[in-house]
Symmetry: C2
Subunit: 404 residues, 2 copies
Amino acid sequence: MAFKIIEDGNITSVPGFAAGSAHCGLKNSGKPDICIIYSPSGSVCSGVFTTNSFRAAPVIIDMESLDNNNNIKAVTVNSGIANACTGGQGMKNGRHMQQITADALGIDRGQVLVASTGIIGKQLPMDKLESGIKASASAMADDGGDEAARAIMTTDLAQKRIAVELTADKGRKVTIGGMAKGSGMIKPDMATMLAFIGTDAKVERDTLDRILKQANKTSFNSISVDGCQSTNDSVFLMANGLSGLNIGEESIYYKEFAEAVTFVMQELAKKIVMDGEGATKFIEISVSGARDDAEAGRAAMTIADSNLFKTAMFGQDLNWGRINAALGASGCGLDPDKVDISVGGRMIVKNGTGLDVDKKAAKELLEPQNIKISIDLRNGNGGWTVWTSDLSFDYIKINALYHN
Amino acid sequence: MAFKIIEDGNITSVPGFAAGSAHCGLKNSGKPDICIIYSPSGSVCSGVFTTNSFRAAPVIIDMESLDNNNNIKAVTVNSGIANACTGGQGMKNGRHMQQITADALGIDRGQVLVASTGIIGKQLPMDKLESGIKASASAMADDGGDEAARAIMTTDLAQKRIAVELTADKGRKVTIGGMAKGSGMIKPDMATMLAFIGTDAKVERDTLDRILKQANKTSFNSISVDGCQSTNDSVFLMANGLSGLNIGEESIYYKEFAEAVTFVMQELAKKIVMDGEGATKFIEISVSGARDDAEAGRAAMTIADSNLFKTAMFGQDLNWGRINAALGASGCGLDPDKVDISVGGRMIVKNGTGLDVDKKAAKELLEPQNIKISIDLRNGNGGWTVWTSDLSFDYIKINALYHN
């Protein structure tokens, strides 16, 4: 069962998923700022959430809902205001957001998930939100996925969506489609802001949980834009079963289905990095030869989070000493005299010390927008890959003037 | 035994310490780039060093020297090249740097410490270094401390030095003087680049080690400019005993002496933060009410290292949600509904949610160059203070174009 990417695919490419969006005034720009993803036949849903101690109200509400309910029909998402650090009033508003959606669609409150993204500490203006939810419900359409991906954007410059189609025997098809938002406050431990993935495969909750958790490790938890963890991050995987194709652990399609979900999530995660605030570079950092995968991941992430490394990438400066310094600070087991580093396939550090690279060659290595850095610690069999962006003047501009 | 600050004091304010500096061509600017701190009568010396796995050659050499020798007479410091990640040749060059100094001063090689700061991965040009060491030895002067503090600068904008004088009974005096360098790649676990403190107190090695280690925790290990740990960080505390005043653990002056050393180191550490690359703000973050001091320190440091917090400070934006998000990501035990935050003495967050602060008041709170942020977790008796700077356009400029 190979899968193929659906051109311009999104969450409503999946049979049985619709979406509706609206502008209700949470954003000053006049752009869409609210949407509902709707699965009228109901979905088994699995979620992973931020590990931040300050969990936003919608995160707390959704964790409860997923504990108590295994039949999710709608997810309402607003951008502009995060409903985080909003106390009891924020919880009340989140539950009210569920109820308004349930009423608009004629379903139960427990079948509605809610998600918010935007500024922390502000209360949701419930009158605006109510009209937005009603307008989104009215705008519900089988091809509303692209507009929904736009409605959840904040500082994002591009909408992030993808869909893939798997073909099983007898021509049976399974679709997986998703969308995500995020470009700042992006750092592992579920700091990916928001992602919604739907599929028409038939999957039990336990299996779905396992697939999501595993795929999340190598996708959203393997990216970092600015090393800052958010209060609202949530990833949802919804399976409405309409394809009739059963994906149990014993299914001959389990592995391929899980791989396709991982692919969809990695593509969305990479789109977040590419759209990282102020980013001019998309950087893949692969560490191999670590004592184990976890150490490789930690080493790769310490480099990805180093401001000095990121500014060097922005400046197209082959200052590999900053890679060494970050590696050495990561706590990863290594022998400084055995570390090899390659950029774009060319070895620049051998046994921990630099090889001669002339100015012209160095420039050629770092001029491309996509940069691959490979590090071999020659200290074991552990490996991991993370994706990150550079740190530019525009990151400062975007974040110093966020409120203004 | 109270202490007073010596006006324009530096390491040569301490009786028995001299310094000589020179320009030998390691820096293109023509500014001094090498110096020797000289204590002809010999000093008991204690050192703390970077915990980075990629320790620079001078760090490895000094750790050996301090293990084998308890009578240090000179420290030779160069700026411009870090002699880090330079392999066997770097170690050879470091030892040669010791030997040239020993020959120039007529002392033993084991009595010489060496320290380097600057770009990683380049070999020291030994011919230039040799002439620089000889010139520094010739320029040796009892009042050379101010110029030496200038010779160790790299991207630093100002030299960092201080001296204090303690008066014991019968009018006996003890002096403590020091200098430091650093403005980028500044982050705890000994990532403060270089600091040298001298005193004429008489202190045994064990006691000196204890005093330095303790003072280091609340000074150089409590600052962060950019969260990046360096390969060269070293702090040395040298006691030449010339005052004749004995500081043993049972001494009635022990506590006050240790406090004065801590004060000197904190002042030097703060000067590093004030001179942080591109910094426009000096920010003190105090966390109280944590379960223990270590958790308070981790919470304060996670805020200090948050790019989103730092850019908000640069933009004078009272975006306290970013403080909450960093606190929540720190792993520090807290109840989100009990967290209070004050800026400049004014409470802005009570019980985890924001209080009303109008635009004018918010501006007044963040306009000053010095900003104090106090966070009470109301969850225990642990407390810690860290110092940090903001993240500005100039940080990017300095670090993206470092090689150019």
